[in-house]
Structures are given as C-alpha cells and as structure tokens.
Symmetry: C2
Subunit: 451 residues, 2 copies
C-alpha cells in the first residue's frame, strides 16, 4: 500500500493492445455507486456459494458468455491470492452454515482429467485452510473403497464412496458432514443419492446442468444488464450479449434447424444494427450452443442462417451431444462477441486469442485467468483444451479500481472484469432464488445482511 | 496454489532462529478445532471493526502485550495484502451498516507525525477502494477550513473541519456520512462533538483510552486464554501474560509506589514459579505501564520491587504522563515476555530485537509487521520510534497454517501470530460488549451469523 501500483502489464500484451474502453473509465469514476448497488443486490438476493464467468472483451463491449456454478479451475488461479480465497470461503461458509462443521465435496466423475483433479485438490486444500474439515466423496458407481489418486503437482486426492443413512444423510467412513458442496455440474442428471437430503446441498441440485438452461441464465442477465445500464446511464448492450432461442431442436434428426437458421438471421440483423450505431467494423457472428451444455462442448460459430441449413455430418454429430453423452434438445443462439484480448507466446507455447475467466466466492472476486488458445480465431469458443491451449493466471485479483491510473491500466482492466463477472453472478443468484422458490425444502442461503 | 509454499524466510532471520515451538505444532494439528471455536466466539460476541495486537514471542510462550482498537500502522502492511484488506473491510462494513452509505474517518490530531498521516491516507484509500465514499474529518479546534497535507509517499490528505447539525448529526461541507469511523484513541477525552450522535460511531466512544483500561482488557484476556487453554489442553500461561494492579498511583507525588513495588515482587515470584515449571532459564522481569497508556509512552522494565522504591526524577517524570499530557493515575504490572525474535540489519539500519504486530479487520487477519528496535534489549518495550527503529512487513498474512511444512516454517509462525492475536481481539470484543451493555444507546454491531 505504500506505493501506487504501476500501470504496466508485465506478462500480458492484452491490456495494452486493447483500445481504451470508455466503459473502464466509467467504472472507475462510478466505483462507489457500483459497489453500493452490488451491496443492495446481494441484500436482496444471496450470492451463489461460488462461480466462474467466461468474459469476452471486444473493446466496444465487455460481456459474459458463460456462467459456471461449479467452477473447475481453482488450480489456475494465482497462488498469491490463496489468502483472499480462504477469507472469502470463510465468509461464504459463515453465511450458509453458521455452526461449525465438516464439508463433503462432491467432484465430477471423470477422474482421468488430471487438470480437473488438480482443481479438486486445490479447492479441498483451500477449504481445509479456511479451517473446515473436508473430505471428497465420489458419485462414481464403481467406487466401493477409498481410492487415492497421486497428482502431477505432488498432491494426493482421496476419493471416498458415499453412503446414505436410513434417515437420509450422506456420510463416508468415519465422517458425517453437515454440508454437501457440489463441484459436479450434474450434467448426468440429479443423483438419487442426494435427493431430499438431511444436510444442505450447495449449490442446490436444481441449478445443475440437468435442470439449468443458458437461456434462463441470460434472461435473468438481460434484466441485470438493463438495471446496471440504467445505473451508469449506458446502453446495456455494452455488457450484454443478445440472444434468441427456438423450442426443441434435434440436429441429428434435422429437426428444428429452420427455426435456428431463421433466428440466427434475425440476431445477425440486430447485431448489424448495433454495430452500425457504434461504428463497429467487425463482421457480425453468432454462437449456437447447447442450452444445457458445458465444458465447451456443443458450440459452433455461425455467420449466416444458411450455414445451419447445410450442416455436414461431423458438425451434426458435434452439436448433438454434450458432456457425458447428454443429448442436445435445445440451443441458445447468442450474439458472438469477438475477443481482442491476446496473450503473447512464451517460448513454450505460441500466443493466441485469450478470454478472461473470473472466479468468485460468495460475492467476492478472488482472481481469474486468461484462457489462451493459439489454435482458434478471435470469433471462436476458446474452451477447447489441446496442445495449443493454456491458462494464464491474472496478475491481480480485480478487487478494486486504480483511481490514479490510466483507464486501461491492468488494475482497472481487472476491475472491469470483476464488475461484469459479478453482473453474471447476480443473474445466477436470481436463477438460484427461482429454484429455491420452486423447491422450498432446499436450504436457502441467507442474504448479505447485518441483522 | 499449484505449488506448496516453501519453508524458507527470505528476509527474516527470526523464524529460523526461534526454537521450534511445540505450541506451533499444536496449532497446526488443531487448526480446524481452533477455527470452529473462533467461529462460535464471533457468533456470541461481534468482533471489533478493526484492531492491532502487539505480540511477544519468547519461544516458551507467545502472548499479546497490547491491543489497539485504533490501529495506526496500515501503511506498514505488505502492499500485496491490499485486496485482503479491502475484502475484509467490505465484510466489516456490511456487518455494521447493511445499507450503502458514506464514511467519516476521524484520525488523531497530531498532524505532524508523517508516519501516522500515511496510515490515515492508506486507510482512506482502502475504504475508498472497498467501494465507499470516505472523507477525513478532524477534531482539531484550530481547523476552520479544509487543510491539504502533502505526504512523503506522494499522497495527499485533506482534513475537513467537522460540523454538528441541530438534529445531532456530524457532517462536513457537501457530505453527510452515515457512519463515523474512529482512528483516534480518545486519549484526550470523549469529544462532545461525538456524544449522542445520530450516526453510529465505530468503535464506540467508550473504548477510547479516556475510558479503557489495560487491566480490564487483560482481565477479559485471562478468561479467553483459559478457555483456549482448555480447548487445546495446554497451560493458558503459554499465551497469557500474568498481571497485577494497584489502586491509584501518582509517581510524581510518590503515592502508591509501595503497592506497586509489592505487587512487582509478587508477580516476579509467580513468574519464577512458571519458569521453574518449564525449565526456563531467562531472568524474570516485569513491565510497569500506564493503565490507560498508549503510543508506547509511560512504560518501564523492572526486575525488582526495590527499583520502584528508588525511582530517579527522570523516570518519575516519564511515568507520570502519557499521550497528550494525560496524567497517569493507575498502572498495570504485567509479566515481561522477552522477545527472541530478531531481524537482521539491512545495510541501511542495524538489526535488533523484533516483535510482531498483527492487523485484523473484523474477525479476519489481514497481515502485520515486525517492529524492530536496534536500540533496545529483548526485555524492553520496542515501540520507541527513533533512528534505530524500523517496521518490516510480514511476507505472509498468517491466514492459514501450512499443513505439510515444518512446525516453525514461516507460514505456521505467521498462523500462530494470527491465532494469538485473535485471542486478544476476542478479549477486546468482550470489552466492547460491556461498553454496549453500559451504554445501550450506542450502535451495536451484529454478531457473525447467517440469520
């Protein structure tokens, strides 16, 4: 604190290459109003336990394109932010379970993904360091005894089979948790083991991808964006990706394609109108993706309705199923936001287009990383791990703006990320509130409130 | 988080020179119990808004020797912990004032102390970066217009004269706060300007040094230490400095000195018994200090009762008045805890004995620093700024233990500091609860509670 942070970006070329966003100056000038507004929002609607948001920064707009309520990249965060994560976890747990107790963390089943396992190990460590007992329980059918997985980082992860007691509680050998924390997005459906449980399940089963729809999220987000636009006196489009949807779609059976094609055309027209209004010279494009999709699966970039009418077999197949073989029966047709963020190569891996992913615990921003994919264009989904894919931790957590600095100095860039990511988190909070209204039996986290 | 922190102390020799404390291993092993215990304590008694605690690490014991509810060294913290401070401030403000509003920060009056002014500037910046409007209002009688003070760091501090409205609210020109945050320890008395105010005053006037007594704090601390000792199955003495007191004392008039001398002897006997029990070979000593003293004033090291009976004129004078000329009419006779912490010289300043000072906001540890004084012995008060005095920021905030590491690796050393400092913070919380019980009109912060 004795010295002002400098407006330099040591390991990123992005912040300097991006044109100065009028939006970032606005955020900096109105930080007190924005923070007061967020505080009022969290009092009205409790924040999710945690979340991560994929952003796209086009220079002329900064918008979320996906919001994950089961964040899977804690291992990609800057280790320097560990205390920040721990403090936020303590606040989050205090809100959902005021009495002290133990946590059962339930991860995804795909235990061969080393990166994901590192995420689970880091998350477990953070919860442990926050002062809670924590064990990892697996939903895998084939797990009958504890299994120890050695990880590349030198860590070990012990997966325990979960038992359900006669009185409707889950436990593992020697440990009965008082809270179940899901890091499994339930793409495979709501597990019977966790239905009508004696312990609270956070986040609630109803926001897993077996129930959740991206169109619902972005419907909530539209409202949040409009309220935020009103607060700052800006066009909500600056922070909002437009979208459209059709009813049911089956690419394999050629069903509903016409509707998708028509809506792609309508959305492209809307984007063209906005580009004209703001003198944007980019070529409009649209992202079509599974409405309940995740892990970057079932996503395509489209520049005309006709492309939908002439899908080849490979694309049909790609668009027909998502994680765990789940069939795609609906899609979201979302405004494509080009990314002008770019990270340079580092000798080991080539540079490429990048998109920021912001991590939040409770209503606190705790860091993030750039997803860089040298094999993709600025108009494509970058979440396609492979040889030319890397993640680069943010140098700063984005907790506050730098009032003395240039609008696009990295501190302010990260703050802008944090603000827009929290808008998406707020939309997710409203989704969860709807789930709670529909399933009153589930545990309701308390809003941010002094009394 | 991908890599484990190493057990190395880059810029401190202390952690390696200190003998491995069995206590630190215990804390690491019982971290989950300790954190659960603290959570229960904060639910029962709300934490102070902020605080700093001076610790002394003797190797055979680690104890607080002073607890400050108006911390004056935010400028000495590691700038890397700024996000941690901001997050904790957000949590603290949410607890004391759920609705969004502005803060009036009231600092000490001594505006010639550059170090203190930097503290005020940093604190203001942190509150601002936490998303609150904040202005600095001065209690100085001679201030009739805003005064801008340029600081060595390049910062500027603007002091505003405070007005009180007819309906009992304070304001400055163009700004009516909804909360008054005191960074003034009220050694000079309770200011009439702030009595029976329409806005909450945090911390309450009743815990200023015009009302607070160290003996009251350490009475509360005795109870906290005993409860903590029971939790861990350890002798509370490991974390508790014994103390005694007399009634009124007037060193200038030679009144009450016999009582002090007698109690020094009794306390020395108690210390000798404890040293014998634990095979401690150090020479016992006692600290006599003003019961309402602060800023390291009115403090002496004593090794026999006789020393009290033969005070010279200079010492009498030193022990007769403390900050702002306040007369000393009572003292605390406290077990001296030698410090075996030492920081090496750095070319610019010589090395010397060091004591850790831990900073907390709400119930969160947010960092700290070593107070190093080359001109003092390991048995003396180190809080005597001068040419051979420096402060060295902690390399880690002490938020969590390092479960894989050596017991005295620096992460665990800092965690131990954080635990004992929070014990003192809890004692202060209980003091504040007493003040609230006595002055029901003052605003009561809410305990840490989900509901």
């Amino acid at each position: 604190m004795p010295t002002q942070p400098e407006c330099a970006v040591p390991d990123l070329t992005t912040a300097r290459q991006a044109p100065l966003l009028r939006f970032e100056s606005l955020l900096r000038e109105h930080a007190a109003d924005i923070e007061a507004w967020f505080r009022a929002q969290w009092r009205a609607t409790p924040p999710p336990f945690y979340g991560s948001v994929d952003l796209r920064n086009a220079g002329f707009k900064l918008a979320p394109v996906d919001t994950n309520l089961f964040p899977a990249g804690f291992n990609n965060l800057n280790p320097a932010f560990e205390p920040l994560c721990i403090q936020a976890l303590q606040a989050a747990f205090e809100r959902v379970m005021p009495t002290a107790c133990g946590v059962l963390l339930i991860p995804e089943n795909h235990t061969r993904n080393q990166f994901y396992l590192e995420n689970v190990a880091v998350l477990t460590e953070l919860i442990h360091n926050a002062g809670y007992r924590v064990h990892v329980g697996s939903l895998r059918d084939d797990l009958h005894e504890p299994e120890t997985l050695p990880l590349a980082s030198g860590r070990e992860l012990v997966l325990h089979p979960i038992q359900r007691t006669a009185d409707g509680h889950v436990r593992i050998d020697g440990f009965t948790p008082c809270l179940v924390l899901l890091n499994n997005d339930l793409s495979g459906g709501r597990p019977a083991l966790l239905e009508n449980l004696g312990q609270p399940v956070i986040p609630p089963l109803g926001v897993g991808w077996s129930s959740r729809l991206k169109t619902q999220h972005f419907t909530q987000y539209n409202a949040v964006g409009a309220e935020f636009g009103e607060l700052l006196g800006i066009d909500p489009w600056w922070v909002t990706p437009m979208f459209r949807n059709c009813g049911s779609v089956n690419f394999k059976e050629h069903e509903g394609e016409d509707c998708v094609a028509r809506n792609v055309e309508l959305l492209l027209e809307d984007i063209r109108a906005k580009y004209k209004q703001y003198n944007v010279t980019e070529e409009p494009f649209v992202i079509v993706k599974a409405d309940a999709g995740t892990y970057g699966m079932g996503v395509m970039t489209v520049k005309s309705g006709d492309e939908l009418r002439h899908l080849n077999r490979k694309t049909r197949k790609k668009m027909s199923a998502t994680k765990e073989g789940r069939e795609v029966d609906a899609v979201i047709i979302q405004e494509g936001v080009p990314t002008l963020e770019r990270v340079d190569g580092d000798g080991e891996l080539p540079g490429g287009p990048a998109e920021p992913v912001v991590y939040m615990i409770d209503h606190y921003v705790v860091g993030g990383f750039y997803r860089v994919n040298a094999g993709r264009s600025t108009q494509e989904n970058l979440n396609a791990p492979g040889a030319r894919f890397k993640q680069l931790a943010f140098a700063e957590p984005g907790v506050h703006p730098h009032h003395g600095g240039e609008a696009d100095c990295h501190t302010n860039r990260f703050y802008a990320y944090g603000v827009v990511a929290r808008l998406a988190l707020l939309a997710a909070a409203r989704e969860i509130a709807h789930v709670h209204a529909a399933e009153p039996s589930v545990t309701v986290a308390q809003p941010v409130e002094a009394a």
